[in-house]
C-alpha cells in the first residue's frame, strides 16, 4: 500500500473525529440553534400560563397517551384546510411558551386539539365524551375512558360532578361521577385556546422567509 493510500485508510482516530464532528453539526442545527433562537421568544400577550389544575390535566393527557392520536399544531390554510375545520390559525412558536413537554403530536387519528377549548368549551360535553365518545360523535374510534369515572347505583354525594349523558346512553338508577383526573383533564382541554392573534413574525424568521 502506498503512503498516499494509507492516508485515507479508516482508523480509530478518524472514525471518532469524523463521527463526532458530523453529529455535532446536526446537533447544532436541530437542537442548539433552535435553542438560541427560541430561548428569548416572549409569550404572546393573549396566552395565559396554565393553572395548577390545568397542569394536572396535562399530565393526565400525557399519561393516557392522547398525543398519539391528536396533534396540537394547526397548519397554514395554504397547506391544509385546518382553519376551515375550525382548528384555528397556523400556530407559532410563542403559542407553546408554557408547553413543556411539547405535545405537537404526529397523528390525526382524531382532530387537532390546539384550540379545542375555543371550539368546545362545555365541561359537560367533554366529560360525557370521555366516558362514552360514541354517544357524542357517531363513528368515533376514540377509546372510552370508564376508568376516569365512578359508576354506581343511587345518588351522587354532595360536591361530586355527575356526568349528564344523552338520554339514550344513560342507564336508569345509575350515576356516573367524574374522578378528579377526568375533571383536571377537562380543565386542561378547555384551556386550549390560541385564538388570540399570533405575534408578528420574528425579524429572523421573516428575513429567511420563515413565517411565509
Amino acid at each position: 500500500m502506498s503512503a498516499r493510500a494509507r492516508r485515507w485508510e479508516m482508523d480509530e482516530l478518524r472514525l471518532i473525529v469524523g463521527a463526532m464532528v458530523i453529529l455535532s453539526l446536526a446537533t447544532g442545527l436541530l437542537v442548539v440553534l433552535p435553542y438560541l433562537l427560541l430561548k428569548n421568544v416572549p409569550p404572546p400577550a393573549g396566552l395565559k400560563p396554565y393553572t395548577a389544575v390545568q397542569l394536572q390535566g396535562r399530565q393526565v393527557y400525557i399519561a393516557n397517551g392522547c398525543l398519539y392520536c391528536h396533534s396540537q399544531q394547526p397548519r397554514d390554510i395554504a397547506q391544509a384546510p385546518d382553519a376551515t375545520r375550525g382548528w384555528g390559525r397556523a400556530s407559532v412558536a410563542g403559542d407553546y411558551a408554557y408547553d413543556t413537554p411539547h405535545l405537537l403530536g404526529t397523528m390525526r387519528t382524531g382532530p387537532d386539539l390546539l384550540n379545542i377549548g375555543a371550539r368546545q368549551p362545555s365541561r359537560d360535553w367533554h366529560l360525557g365524551h370521555l366516558y362514552a365518545p360514541r354517544a357524542y360523535t357517531p363513528g368515533s374510534i376514540m377509546p372510552a375512558y370508564p376508568y376516569l369515572f365512578d359508576v354506581r347505583q343511587g345518588a351522587a354525594q354532595p360536591g361530586e360532578v355527575v356526568v349528564n349523558l344523552p338520554p339514550k346512553w344513560a342507564r336508569p338508577g345509575e350515576v356516573v361521577v367524574a374522578k378528579p383526573e377526568a375533571l383536571a383533564l377537562v380543565e386542561y382541554l378547555i384551556s386550549l385556546d390560541r385564538t388570540y392573534p399570533a405575534l408578528k413574525p420574528l425579524p429572523a424568521a421573516a428575513a429567511t422567509g420563515g413565517a411565509r
Binding site: 500500500m1 493510500a5 479508516m10 482508523d11 472514525l15 469524523g18 463521527a19 463526532m20 458530523i22 453529529l23 453539526l25 446536526a26 446537533t27 447544532g28 442545527l29 436541530l30 437542537v31 440553534l33 433552535p34 427560541l38 400525557i62 399519561a63 393516557n64 397517551g65 398525543l67 396533534s71 399544531q73 397547506q79 391544509a80 384546510p81 375545520r85 397556523a90 400556530s91 412558536a93 407553546y96 408547553d99 413543556t100 413537554p101 411539547h102 405537537l104 404526529t106 397523528m107 387519528t109 382524531g110 360514541r134 357517531p138 363513528g139 374510534i141 377509546p143 372510552a144 375512558y145 370508564p146 376508568y147 429572523a204 428575513a207 429567511t208 422567509g209 420563515g210 413565517a211 411565509r212
Partner: protein, 571 residues
C-alpha cells in the same frame, strides 16, 4: 439573521463540497487498498466456501453448488480456525443472553402492538383498565420494540461480530453482561412505568428520565468493552461493519443523553430536539447496527467479498452526514423556522447517495447468486432486509418532499413507513443474523428447519398485508383530510377496513414471532435431532464422496486444535 443564513449556506456548501471530494477521491482510488480490507472477514483459503450454520446439510450442499463448487476448499488453516473459535467463545455467553432477552422482548412487543392495533378499530374493547388503554399500550409497544427487541438484538449481534472482525477476544465480557442485565432491567421498569401512566410525554423518549439512567449505565457497560476490544485489534484493516458498530456506539449515548436531559428543553425547541432524536435513533443507531450485520453476513454466507469496498466508505460517511440532519422533516407545516425544515428536506433527498451506495454494494454482491437465497435461511432474511432498506429509504426521501408530506403527515401512512424501516429492514436483518449466530453460540443446530420457513413466510406475508393495507389507508386518509368539503369523520371512517387489515397482518407477524421464539428456546434446551457436529467445523456437504474427505479434514482439524474445539467437537 446573519447566523441562520450563514448556517444554511454553510451546510449546503459543505454538503455539496463533501460529496465532490468523495467522488473525486473515489475516482482516484484514494481509499487505500480496498481489497485487503474487504477480504478481512475471510480466513486464508476461505473465499469461495459458503457458510450458513442455520442451513441443513443438504441446503448447504445446494448452496455451495449455487455458488461455485469448484472453489470449495476443504483445507483450512488450523490456527485461524482456532483463533476464530476463541473469538466466538469470548463473546458467546453475553451474546446468548442478549439475544435471548431480545427474543423475549420481541414477543411481548408484538403482543402489545397487536392489542394496540385491534383497539384502534374496536374502541370499546377492554377499556376498563387504565394500563391497557390505547394511549399506554402503544408507547409500551414502541419502546419495547426500540429499546427491548431492536437494541438488545443489535447489541447482541454487535458483541458477536466485534471479536470476530478484529480477530481478538472480547475484553470485559463480564461487564457487558452486567450492562445487558441493567439495560433489560431498564426496559422492564420503563414498561411498568408507562403502564402506570408515568411518561415523559415525548415520542421515542417516553421512559421517565430516572429509568433512562439504567439504560445509560447499562449501555456504557456494553459499549466500553467493545471499544476496548477495538483498541486491542489484531487486524491491520477495519472492516466496514466495524465502522458502523463503533460509530453507532459513539452516537447513541450522545443522542440519548442530550435528548433525555431533564429540564433542558422547552416548547418548540423540544419538538425539533424530539425529531432530531427520533430520526437519528433510527439513522445513527439502528441502521448502522443492521448495516454492519448485512455487510458481514451477505459476503460471509456467499463466500464472496463485498462488491466494492470504496463504495462502502462513501456509503458510511454520507449516511452519517446526511441522515443526521433529516429530523426536521417531521415538522413540515409546524411552528418551526422554515430554514430548519428546508435543510432537513434537502438532506432527506441527499440520503439517496448513501442508500444507492449501500444498495449497489450489497445487491451486486448477491446478483447472479439469487439461487443461494433458496438454500440459506440467513441470507433469505438478510437480503430481503437489505431490499427493504433500499425501499424504506427511497420512500423516506420522497415523504420528506413538501407535496408528498402534506398528504402523508399525521396519517397511518407514516406508521406503515416506520414499520418498513424498523421491521422490514432492521428486524429482518436481525432474524437472519440470529439464525447464523445462535448455532455458534449454543453449539447446537436449529432443531427444525421447517420452523425457520414457517417463521419466514408468516412474517413476510403478515408484513405485506400490514404494509400495503396501512399505506393505502393512510394515503386515502390524508387525501380526505386535505379536502375541505369532506367532513373529518369521513377520514376516520374510511381507514377502518385498512386498520382491520393491519390487525390481520400484525396477527400473522406475531404468530411468526411465536414460532421463532419457540424454536429459539427449543434450541436453547437442545431439543430436536442432532444432525451435524459442532457447526463451526461442519464439513461443507457436496456428495457422499466429498463429504467423507471433508469429515477427514474435520477430524484432522479437531486434533490440531484439540483444546479449542474440545467443547464443540465432543458434543
Amino acid at each position: 439573521m446573519d447566523l441562520t443564513v450563514s448556517v444554511l449556506l454553510g451546510t449546503f456548501i459543505l454538503s455539496v463540497l463533501a460529496l465532490f471530494v468523495f467522488i473525486a477521491s473515489m475516482a482516484k482510488g484514494l481509499f487505500g487498498s480496498g481489497g485487503a480490507a474487504a477480504v478481512q472477514i475471510f480466513d486464508a483459503d476461505e473465499i469461495g466456501t459458503v457458510e450458513d450454520p442455520a442451513a441443513t446439510q443438504s441446503q448447504r450442499g445446494s448452496l455451495q453448488k449455487a455458488m461455485d463448487p469448484s472453489t470449495l476448499r476443504t483445507q483450512r488453516d488450523a490456527r485461524e480456525v482456532a483463533a476464530r473459535l476463541r473469538a466466538d467463545q469470548s463473546s458467546s455467553l453475553v451474546v446468548g443472553v442478549c439475544l435471548t432477552m431480545a427474543v423475549v422482548w420481541l414477543v411481548l412487543a408484538s403482543v402489545a402492538g397487536l392489542i394496540a392495533s385491534i383497539k384502534l378499530h374496536t374502541p370499546d374493547w377492554w377499556v376498563g383498565q387504565a394500563w391497557i388503554t390505547f394511549g399506554r399500550i402503544r408507547p409500551i409497544h414502541l419502546n419495547l420494540v426500540a429499546y427491548g427487541w431492536c437494541s438488545m438484538a443489535g447489541i447482541g449481534v454487535a458483541l458477536w461480530l466485534i471479536p470476530r472482525l478484529l480477530k481478538t477476544e472480547l475484553v470485559g465480557a463480564r461487564y457487558a453482561l452486567m450492562g445487558g442485565a441493567l439495560w433489560a432491567g431498564g426496559v422492564a421498569a420503563g414498561t411498568v412505568t408507562l403502564a402506570l401512566g408515568y411518561s415523559d410525554g415525548l415520542e421515542w423518549l417516553e421512559y421517565p428520565w430516572q429509568i433512562d439512567i439504567l439504560l445509560v449505565v447499562g449501555g456504557a457497560l456494553v459499549g466500553f468493552p467493545m471499544w476496548l476490544t477495538l483498541l486491542r485489534r489484531r487486524v491491520a484493516h477495519l472492516y466496514v461493519s466495524v465502522w458502523y458498530i463503533a460509530a453507532g456506539l459513539l452516537w447513541f449515548p450522545v443522542l440519548f443523553l442530550v435528548a433525555n436531559w431533564p429540564g433542558l428543553h422547552f416548547g418548540v425547541q423540544q419538538a425539533t430536539m424530539n425529531w432530531w432524536y427520533g430520526h437519528n435513533v433510527l439513522g445513527l443507531w439502528f441502521t448502522p447496527l443492521a448495516l454492519a450485520a448485512s455487510y458481514y453476513f451477505i459476503p460471509k454466507v456467499l463466500g464472496k467479498p463485498i462488491h466494492s469496498y470504496n463504495l462502502s466508505l462513501l456509503g458510511f460517511w454520507s449516511l452519517a452526514f446526511f441522515y443526521s440532519q433529516v429530523g426536521g422533516h417531521h415538522l413540515i407545516g409546524g411552528p418551526v423556522p422554515s430554514w430548519l425544515i428546508t435543510i432537513s428536506i434537502v438532506q432527506s433527498m441527499m440520503m439517496v447517495v448513501p442508500v444507492v451506495a449501500v444498495a449497489i454494494n450489497q445487491h451486486l454482491t448477491v446478483v447472479g447468486n439469487f439461487r443461494a437465497l433458496l438454500y440459506s435461511p440467513t441470507l433469505r432474511f438478510i437480503v430481503l432486509g437489505a431490499m427493504f432498506y433500499t425501499a424504506a429509504s427511497v420512500q423516506g426521501s420522497l415523504q420528506a418532499l413538501r407535496s408528498v408530506n402534506t398528504v402523508t403527515h399525521f396519517t397511518h401512512y407514516t406508521v406503515a413507513h416506520a414499520h418498513l424501516g424498523l421491521y422490514g429492514f432492521f428486524s429482518m436483518v436481525m432474524f437472519g443474523s440470529i439464525y447464523f449466530i445462535m448455532p455458534r453460540v449454543m453449539k447446537w443446530e436449529w432443531p427444525y428447519p421447517w420452523m425457520i420457513s414457517a417463521h419466514f413466510w408468516l412474517v413476510l406475508g403478515g408484513f405485506a398485508v400490514y404494509f400495503i393495507g396501512l399505506s393505502f389507508g393512510g394515503w386515502y386518509q390524508g387525501l380526505a383530510m386535505l379536502d375541505k368539503d369532506v367532513p373529518f369523520m369521513d377520514s376516520v371512517a374510511l381507514t377502518i377496513p385498512y386498520l382491520q387489515a393491519r390487525s390481520v397482518g400484525g396477527a400473522l407477524m406475531t404468530l411468526g414471532h411465536l414460532v421463532f421464539a419457540l424454536h429459539f428456546f427449543m434450541m436453547g434446551w437442545k431439543f430436536g435431532p442432532r444432525r451435524l457436529g459442532a457447526s463451526l467445523l461442519a464439513p461443507p456437504f457436496l456428495s457422499g464422496a466429498s463429504a467423507n474427505t471433508a469429515s477427514a479434514t474435520t477430524a484432522r482439524l479437531a486434533t490440531a486444535t484439540s483444546t479449542a474445539t474440545a467443547a464443540g467437537a465432543a458434543r
